[in-house]
């Protein structure tokens, strides 16, 4: 008994495993080196950033000081935070309302409405980029926060996931509440919303990052520096400092480090707010991404930049 348990644990590594391990390390270097290079670059002086040294020999915060004092980078960060936060909260509120109606209420044409909402998932950016711009221009929402926020609110992805989740809530809970004299609003507000906390937490991370990382729409809709999101601001900074060859890359690296900070959190922090969502999402809808290994971060599947 005892030997049987010990033998596989102490077995020497097979050559094949050895080879796989070497390959895995090589790919990990390929995947991680650019990120580390970026991170350390922000703390290097301008001359050192142009040499091959990996660690900064004299770590400096000058680059960060520069982008906060000579460039309105703080403003860009705050704009991005403000827009992403508002879009996330309002969109999730609207989506959960719509999802509640589609999942829990009975009315004529429900399936038709759901199919139409679902069909908008197939509409991709190139089809509507130009006409959407024309619509937003006619609504006088160019170059202001409304133009950034309002069109970003509406996408069927959130509605779809929330609906799939709401379908699984036992009907008896809701019937009891209605019998007790609750109106539909109170059922939604006091029962459905509290029950959907785990999925809303996961979607909050996803929506926030999708909006934080959004680039093409803010680029098109904004003209005025004071509304720029951090992605557009960073791109503008790149255009300014790389002009004429002798670029000061260390400013850009410092700016990029700050821009990428929120992106890392959901992957790296094991205690991100998406607790038990994995279980809850699995049974419906997401069949193709089902079966992730246990212990693999759930946020991984939900993070990304899919919104527009």
């Amino acid at each position: 008994m005892a030997t049987e348990r010990i033998v596989p644990a102490r077995r020497r590594m097979r050559p094949a495993t050895m080879f796989q391990l070497v390959a895995a390390i090589a790919v990990a270097v390929f995947a991680l080196f650019p990120l580390l290079w970026l991170f350390t670059g922000g703390f290097k002086t301008q001359t050192e950033a142009s040499t091959g040294a990996f660690w900064p020999s004299h770590p400096t915060l000058d680059n960060f000081v520069f982008i906060f004092t000579q460039v309105p980078f703080l403003r860009y960060l705050l704009n991005s935070f403000f827009v992403s936060a508002i879009v996330t909260v309002v969109a999730l509120f609207f989506h959960s309302m719509a999802a509640y109606a589609l999942a829990r209420l009975r009315f004529r044409g429900r399936d038709t409405v759901f199919m139409l909402v679902f069909a908008t998932l197939l509409v991709t950016a190139p089809v509507i980029l130009v006409p959407l711009f024309v619509v937003v221009r006619e609504l006088h929402m160019l170059n202001n926060y409304a133009g950034l926020i309002v069109p970003a609110l509406f996408n069927a992805f959130g509605i779809f996931l929330l609906r799939q989740y709401y379908i699984t809530i036992p009907k008896e809970l809701e019937e009891a509440a209605i019998v007790d004299g609750c109106g539909y609003w109170r059922v939604y507000w006091n029962m459905i919303l509290p029950l959907s906390r785990p999925i809303l937490a996961a979607l909050t991370v996803f929506f926030f990052l999708a909006n934080w990382n959004a680039f093409v729409w803010p680029l098109i809709v904004l003209a005025d520096d004071k509304y720029f999101t951090v992605q557009v601001g960073l791109q503008l900074l790149q255009d300014q400092v790389t002009v004429g060859g002798g670029a000061n890359w260390s400013y850009l690296l410092a700016g990029s480090t700050l821009t990428a900070l929120p992106d890392h959190d959901p992957v790296l922090l094991p205690a991100a707010p998406a607790g038990g969502v994995d279980q809850d999402l699995r049974p419906q809808g997401l069949t193709l991404t089902n079966g992730l290994p246990a212990g693999f971060p759930v946020r991984v599947r939900l993070s990304g930049r899919a919104c527009h």
Binding site: Q20, A24, A31, L32, L35, W37, S50, G52, M97, A98, Y100, L105, F107, V117, T120, V123, T124, A125, P126, V127, I128, L129, V130, P131, L132, V134, V135, R137, P151, F154, N155, D180, G181, G183, Y184, W185, W212, N213, F215, V216, I220, L234, Q235, Q238, G245, W249, L253, S256, T259, D263, H264, V267, L288, N290, L292, P293, F296, P297, S303, R305
Partner: protein
């Protein structure tokens, strides 16, 4: 016994009155109230989706029939924008660039992701670290990704040329040479996406019942036979999903990367259609013409999706396959 029963009847009468007074008209029955409630719950999203996705959908075709002047004057010109497409040499070069980009990126990215998924399915020491490491690039915004790589590939200070110099490869202008720039963009895009598709493929791999592999081991099947006769056929639904998503992403999602990395240059060598649409609309103000190219791109997308769908038979498979 009597007390709870009466309490229940009391609450029932109360329930039939209370929501009724809360609703618009006391005469509505429950079905009508439910309908009204649903309409109000759905209103914000349905109105928003109609204005910001439905309306632009319809407009995209309508707009392609107009010429739009710089002052927002619309002139109906029929199909002239479409005729213009076929006489535009930049469009042809852009179409060619797009096809090369898709044909290199989609299979290249798929093979890379599949190899990674097969690798991290093994019981390697530290496999959790490797999975997270491979996924990390995907979590970062494309603007930052493109910027890092521009820095690393820079002609003067880039670390890539320095490293290649150690093994005797002469420095290249990775983003400045029209013959290299598109390939560079493909490699950078694979670097971003490999971890994401790896996660999806890994999910597919782990859904394959282990009994198949156990049976194969008893039969003494080689690793290649395992892959060829078990993994590959049973992974088809997931492969289908990955190929379809990455094709659509390659056709429509390349904008951010191309914009920051090369702005379509040098000499239009990375000017893919989605970037050309942007150029026409937002740099030259040719909204009508841009909308026409957009419609054309949608047709290409539908054609590609159909091709993938037909060749993989919808990603379906049977155990007798």
């Amino acid at each position: 016994m009597t007390a709870p029963t009466s309490a229940r009847t009391a609450s029932k009468t109360a329930s039939s009155e209370l929501p009724a007074t809360a609703a618009k008209s006391p005469k509505l029955n429950r079905r009508q109230r439910e309908g009204w409630a649903a309409a109000l719950f759905l209103a914000p999203d349905v109105i928003g989706l109609t204005i910001f996705i439905g309306l632009p959908m319809v407009l995209s075709f309508v707009l392609s029939l107009f010429q739009v002047s710089g002052f927002g004057q619309y002139t109906f010109i029929g199909f002239a924008n479409y005729q213009r497409i076929f006489a535009d040499p930049v469009f042809y070069s852009s179409l060619r660039t797009t096809l090369i980009y898709v044909v290199c990126l989609v299979p290249g990215g798929f093979v890379a992701s599949l190899l990674l998924a097969l690798l991290v399915r093994q019981k390697l020491p530290g496999v959790g670290f490797f999975r997270t490491a491979y996924f990390l690039p995907f979590s970062i915004s494309i603007v930052v990704v493109a910027l890092i790589w521009r820095f690393m590939l820079d002609d003067q200070v880039g670390v890539v040329n320095q490293v290649l110099g150690w093994v005797g490869i002469p420095p290249q202008s990775w983003l400045g040479n029209p013959q290299l720039a598109l390939g560079t963009a493909v490699v950078v895009t694979i670097w971003v996406q490999m971890g994401y598709y790896m996660v999806i493929l890994l999910g597919g791999l782990q859904d394959i019942p282990t009994e198949f592999y156990e049976a194969a081991r008893i039969d003494g099947a080689s690793a290649w036979a395992n892959f060829r006769h078990i993994t590959w056929p049973l992974l088809k639904p997931t492969s289908f999903f990955v190929l379809l998503t990455s094709t659509v992403a390659a056709l429509t999602g390349a904008f951010d990367m191309i914009y920051v990395l090369t702005k379509g240059g040098p000499a239009n060598s990375t000017n893919v259609l989605i970037f050309y649409i942007y150029q026409q609309a937002f740099q030259y103000g040719e909204y009508g013409y841009a909308a026409a190219i957009g419609t054309f791109l949608v047709l290409i997308m539908l054609a590609c999706s159909t091709a993938i769908f037909v060749t993989t038979r919808g990603g379906r498979f049977s155990y007798g396959d």
